[in-house]
Symmetry: C2
Subunit: 292 residues, 2 copies
């Protein structure tokens, strides 16, 4: 594990530990821990910390809290997405999904509690950090990414509309939390936020394309969740639109555009290298070789 990985697990462990202590109903406490640990790739919080570092990371407590908040919101969305009334997904990250392991009621509450905890942890960190004046911006960035009209809740709700604008849908459902990751990293470090939106958008779109490719080509064991879900649910997919090779090309182009957009900052060059490296892990190894 590198420094960022360690830091992310540490801050998540601290936040979840406090929330699921002995005074918490035991079943909810177990389900919340189950939903967050062990994690997936932790891409969003890594992106947040990387952007904060590139901007000097002048308030590490705040950037860590921002990264944790974003990961908790992501985990919450996965738990609710998997519910029987939505994807009815039996597996997630290679184990039974939360509602299968703990029941629908606990799964609804787990998602709710994780959303609340994300914002609570921001407030607690801001009460103890060196630059609390950055909290309103951080709060707006993270909440906007998961609410409505532009965030994850809205993205999910577009699936229920008779007609969907595909880019609108992907931007809300996946892109928004990547944009929040880059912008929260900048905001926590006291940098200008706006120049960092393009990186979040492109990396988010690249990840979505990678997800479409994995859904269409990988097996469930490799990616730890059911495959073929886009086709089964009639959801928009880059593979459906461009074919596998076209989608792989599109992914490369998006990462290049994102890297190109990185504004001048103390750690800009290092961040560019990191982005290129990290994005290689978006795909299963054999496809990554095709993309290289």
């Amino acid at each position: 594990m590198n420094d960022a990985d360690t830091k992310i697990e540490q801050v998540l462990t601290a936040v979840i530990g406090r929330a699921t202590d002995r005074t918490c109903p035991p079943l909810l406490a177990r389900a919340v821990r189950y939903a967050v640990f062990p994690g997936g790739a932790r891409l969003r919080p890594k992106l947040c910390l990387a952007v904060a570092a590139a901007n000097g990371d002048s308030d590490p407590a705040l950037s860590s809290a921002g990264a944790a908040a974003i990961e908790l919101l992501h985990c919450a969305s996965l738990v609710h997405d998997d519910l029987p009334c939505f994807d009815n997904a039996g597996e997630r990250r290679g184990k039974p999904s939360v509602h299968v392991a703990f029941g629908d009621q606990i799964a609804v509450l787990t998602g709710d509690a994780l959303i609340v905890l994300a914002f609570e942890s921001l407030g607690l960190a801001a009460g103890e950090c060196s630059a609390p004046q950055r909290l309103p911006s951080l709060l707006s960035i993270t909440s906007r990414a998961v609410g409505m009209p532009f965030g994850i809740s809205a993205g999910q709700a577009w699936e229920l509309e008779p007609s969907v604008d595909v880019s609108h849908y992907h931007q809300a459902k996946t892109g928004s939390l990547f944009v929040a990751a880059t912008c929260a990293g900048a905001a926590a470090a006291g940098a200008d936020v706006e120049p960092w939106t393009v990186l979040g958008e492109r990396i988010g779109e690249a990840y979505q394309v990678a997800d479409d490719i994995r859904d269409a080509t990988a097996d469930a064991e490799t990616i730890g969740k059911p495959v073929g879900q886009d086709a089964a649910h009639g959801r928009p997919s880059a593979v459906h639109e461009l074919g596998v090779d076209g989608a792989v090309g599109r992914l490369r182009q998006l990462v290049a555009e994102g890297v190109e957009s990185i504004p001048d900052c103390p750690g800009g060059n290092l961040l560019k290298l990191l982005m290129l490296e990290e994005s290689k892990r978006f795909l299963p190894k054999d496809l990554a070789r095709r993309a290289a």
Copy 2:
């Protein structure tokens, strides 16, 4: 409508209007508006504004945002509570509950989006108000009230445990948001928070007792939701424990204790009168006469 009522509807209208504009998926936008308007008694935001006023209300934009956040969190909890996997309640506030009117998926998303919106509106207000340094406290107070280990999510989760501490359960499920209301009012006005917890606790417990009484004695048309739910779900109830007259006596005692706890502040006496007046409306008229 008095000033506080008007102010609450205005700020909720503004917050919901922004979130459900034309860029929001139409079904989600309709469901969110349906979940918030027309409201119930708006007891919690009224309590928040009343405590802020009693403390001089030096930042009205912040106290209004706090009141709105608390009401949105309350509405969110009702929508998720009513879901088939929990209470499976077909009616709320005299009309079909959100999942009956819009489906389970939209109901889950409506609750999620309202939770997010509550915190988002705090962040936006703090970005524009005169005392943004009060935001961390306001954020902690409101999030603690709805999360875990002590908030509404935890309260709901206690229902799923084999053994429940009744006061723990009620404190989490109902009391926590009343405590948040008094404390948020104080925090938004820059006052000491801690002395205001007892008022919130007692008024919250009084309201819970009133709810138990209404559930056991009223008819569905009068209270706008199904009755007899506590008995049907085997939930703890003050009526079951004390009988109707005993419960009415308990309610009076709790309100008196709450009023007694109000700390010295510029508008303390007015607040005491207001609390006594408001708490009379907790019960249907015939029972209120018995309690007088």
